[in-house]
């Protein structure tokens, strides 16, 4: 390695302490989401030092795995979610992932994407960005993409999505430092994400959503993902309807006002 790398600000792995299963008290919770077979478990292992078995096939992880790491002066709890292609339909693994991002309220959601199949991976990314505003895109398998003659303008991608994008080759450990740095920045709020919101072209649908969002905001003024919830209600999602009735939704507003004073503006 180039000796200059060690002193460079980007080289942060000496600030990383892998805590394995020690997650006793943590400052921030980080969720690891993404399509199946994009290397989530590899990223998980690289950060926590755990040796969760990884496998080269979609559907390998169907339960949540948890681990911890410390970076800078902060302790992080990392939750590896099952890989899914979307958050819309209702298989159990998609529900586990969706419920965690929604109700578990992670401080940062790391979306692991396969650089060789970016378009498909963006489908999930855009859906996640409707639920949470604090996310980092880990553009994994960048080495494989390069081998296939694919290059990705990660800065342009970051501008388009409104969240940090970190090119990675997690199997080789490349990009782990940069990912840690971005997780830290988003968690502490020194990087403010402005995630792209998918606009509805259908006017009728948009009006219906607006109506419901107004009502939801009258109930919970600081709810961060009201229009996503409105869409789910329009679709008749039983789980979300139940969450409104039993008070789980009102839980989501806890502490929200402090972290995001600009919340009203997003929905102007």
């Amino acid at each position: 390695m180039n000796p200059n790398c060690e002193s460079c600000a980007v080289h942060n792995s000496n600030h990383l302490r892998r805590l394995g299963l020690d997650m006793g008290s943590f400052d921030y919770m980080v969720a690891l989401a993404g399509n199946p077979n994009t290397g989530k478990s590899t990223v998980f292992n690289a950060l926590t030092g755990l040796k969760q078995h990884t496998g080269n096939w979609p559907g390998k992880t169907v339960t949540r795995a948890e681990g911890g790491f410390a970076y800078g002066d902060k302790r992080f709890k990392l939750v590896d979610l099952p890989g899914t292609y979307s958050l819309l339909s209702t298989s159990v693994d998609e529900e586990v992932a969706r419920d965690f991002i929604l109700f578990g309220r992670p401080d940062v959601t790391v979306i692991v994407a396969d650089a060789t199949r970016l378009e498909r991976n963006l489908n999930l990314t855009l859906q996640i960005l409707k639920i949470t505003r604090r996310a980092v895109l880990a553009l994994n398998l960048i080495d494989e993409a390069r081998r296939h003659g694919v290059s990705i303008d990660d800065r342009a991608l970051s501008r388009e999505l409104g969240i940090p994008v970190v090119p990675m080759a997690a199997r080789q450990g490349d990009g782990v430092d940069a990912l840690l740095k971005m997780i830290h920045e988003v968690a502490t709020g020194s990087y403010v994400c402005r995630p792209r919101q998918v606009k509805n072209k259908n006017r009728k649908l948009e009006r219906a959503v607006q109506k419901l969002v107004e009502q939801i905001h009258a109930l919970y003024p600081v709810l961060p993902n009201a229009d996503w919830l409105a869409l789910r209600l329009l679709e008749g999602d039983e789980r979300i309807i139940g969450a409104f009735r039993n008070g789980t939704i009102s839980e989501l507003t806890r502490g929200e006002a402090l972290q995001t004073p600009a919340v009203e503006k997003v929905y102007e």
């Binding site: 199946p36 077979n37 040796k51 078995h53 990884t54 496998g55 080269n56 096939w57 979609p58 559907g59 169907v62 339960t63 099952p82 979307s86 819309l88 339909s89 209702t90 298989s91 159990v92 586990v96 060789t116 970016l118 378009e119 498909r120 963006l122 489908n123 855009l126 859906q127 494989e144 296939h148 003659g149 694919v150 290059s151 990705i152 303008d153 342009a156 991608l157 388009e160 999505l161 792209r196 998918v198 606009k199 509805n200 072209k201 259908n202 009728k204 649908l205 109506k211 419901l212 009502q215 009258a218 109930l219 409105a230 869409l231 209600l233 329009l234 679709e235 008749g236 409104f244 009735r245």
Partner: protein, 480 residues
């Protein structure tokens, strides 16, 4: 407490209003929101991707596709699958012979008498019997019988997995599953079951439709799990391989194991088909399966993780279950009621049923003792056979049964207990077709939340097992 009930009720009213509003609005927006949303997202994803992704346009030699054409080809896919799996078993069978004999020589022939002598010095006889003849000996058998095949099989299987071969198996079998009215992804959960059925049952979460998920759960037990591979491998090497000329015995034994595994796949299809035509009626749903790129496995890391994580964990679990099972076996063999030990009462009670289906009371009792973990079937059979033959002096000097060459000594023991080729075949079949282990049963209950389906998953394979070995036995007795 009542203080907040006013605003609380108001809140509830507002929520109900919101929900009923949503219900009303649902009619105005049409029933294709789901598709519209998806379309919206897909368009934007394509749009972003167009802006940021550049292809260099060079045509590369695409060995991925060439290999896929071969490994998932219409005519080559299934034969290649058989060849690859046979190779894995053959290496496992041939490779585990020698270390098994060594471990058995060390742990059972040398260490056992030493321990026995040492502890008999100051412990009461019943206690050294319980600890050494019961708990230690069963655990030692678990290690000697299971460790070598596991230490070879797991890394090989993990290498195939990391290379990206498992989804190809699913791809090859997808059409067959569809014909059976089941979900194509069941091929993946079935493959998971080859590691551990409890894990396979959890893995069925990737199947969306509850009907197809239940089928996958119920049939997962037909995938031979970690705990049963060593049973298959040992019995196949001892009895089936022995029928063939020595030069071919490894290949024949591997072939027998493959045959049992294929029979499991056959039963998976038949049962799936039967269920989807009767109590779980319905059409197979469509799905897309992603074939991941082949990735060269990182050899040493795979070796390390599969040895440390898989082999050690499975072995540990086996030993944990073997110790109490060993204690139970020793106790029921030494507690006498009337003039017989409890074990002998059980064995005598089970012998008629065992005889009817071509097994014996000892084997059936061993399968009952081994409900917590399939790993201890063979050690339990060994223990119970020794005890039921009244060979209590075994390994202590008097009437030494065990030669240093472990495989031969197992053979001697089984012959003394009147085992035949038929007993061995039936044992292999019954090991494939019987109730899942208690961990899996509990997992099935947790995943389905239903006692009914848990019971179906438990007793359906058991009933099938008895039916199959009954007919095999009757046929064999008439034919030979």
């Amino acid at each position: 407490m009542n203080k907040s009930s006013g605003p609380h009720e108001e809140n509830n009213r507002a929520i109900e209003e919101l929900l009923s509003n949503a219900r009303d609005l649902r009619w105005t927006v049409g029933d294709d929101i789901h598709d519209q949303l998806l379309k919206n997202i897909y368009e934007q994803a394509a749009d972003i991707s167009d802006k940021v992704v550049r292809h260099d346009g060079k045509k590369r030699y695409d060995w991925d596709q060439k290999l896929d054409r071969f490994l998932t080809g219409r005519w080559t896919g299934l034969p290649m699958m058989l060849i690859l799996l046979s190779l894995v078993f053959w290496i496992t069978i041939v490779g585990s012979n020698y270390p098994s004999a060594m471990l058995s020589g060390l742990l059972i022939d040398s260490l056992h008498p030493l321990l026995k002598n040492f502890f008999s010095g100051f412990l009461p006889a019943w206690m050294s019997g319980l600890l050494i003849d019961g708990m230690y000996l069963t655990s030692a058998w678990v290690v000697a019988v299971m460790l070598p095949p596991m230490a070879i099989f797991f890394p090989l299987f993990t290498l195939l997995e990391d290379f990206g071969y498992l989804p190809r198996i699913a791809f090859n079998l997808d059409g067959l599953f569809r014909k059976a009215g089941a979900h194509g992804k069941q091929a993946l959960t079935m493959t998971m079951g080859y590691g551990c059925n409890a894990a396979g049952v959890v893995a069925t979460r990737i199947i969306d439709s509850p009907r197809e998920r239940l089928i996958a759960i119920i049939t997962n037990n037909f995938s031979l799990c970690n705990g049963r591979w060593p049973t298959q491998i040992l019995i196949a090497s001892l009895f089936i391989g022995a029928v063939a000329p020595p030069a071919l015995s490894g290949i024949v034994a591997a072939g027998a194991v493959i045959a049992v595994a294929l029979l499991g796949i056959f039963f998976t299809f038949i049962t799936s088909w039967g269920l989807s035509k009767t109590i779980l009626r319905g059409e197979a749903s469509a799905f897309s399966l992603e074939l991941p790129p082949y990735r060269p496995p990182r050899f040493w890391q795979t070796l390390y993780t599969s040895l440390i994580d898989r082999t050690a964990i499975v072995l540990w679990r086996a030993v944990i279950f073997a110790m109490p099972a060993g204690a139970v076996i020793w106790l029921i063999s030494n507690i006498t009621v009337g003039d017989l030990s409890l074990a002998e009462w059980f064995i005598r009670a089970l012998d008629p049923l065992g005889g009817l289906v071509g097994l014996n009371g000892v084997i059936l009792l061993a399968f009952i003792v081994a409900i917590p973990a399939n790993e201890i079937v063979i050690p339990s059979i060994l223990m119970l056979t020794v005890l039921s033959l009244n060979l209590h002096g075994m390994g202590t000097g008097a009437g030494v049964l065990f030669e240093p060459d472990s495989l031969n000594s197992y053979m001697q023991l089984f012959h003394q207990a009147n085992w035949t080729l038929l007993t061995a075949v039936n044992l292999m079949l019954f090991s494939l077709l019987h109730n899942p282990c208690s961990t899996t049963i509990y997992t099935i209950y947790k995943e389905t939340g239903s006692w009914k389906w848990t019971m179906v998953s438990t007793f359906l394979p058991l009933a099938l097992g008895f039916i199959v070995i009954f007919f095999v036995t009757q046929w064999a007795r008439i034919a030979f």
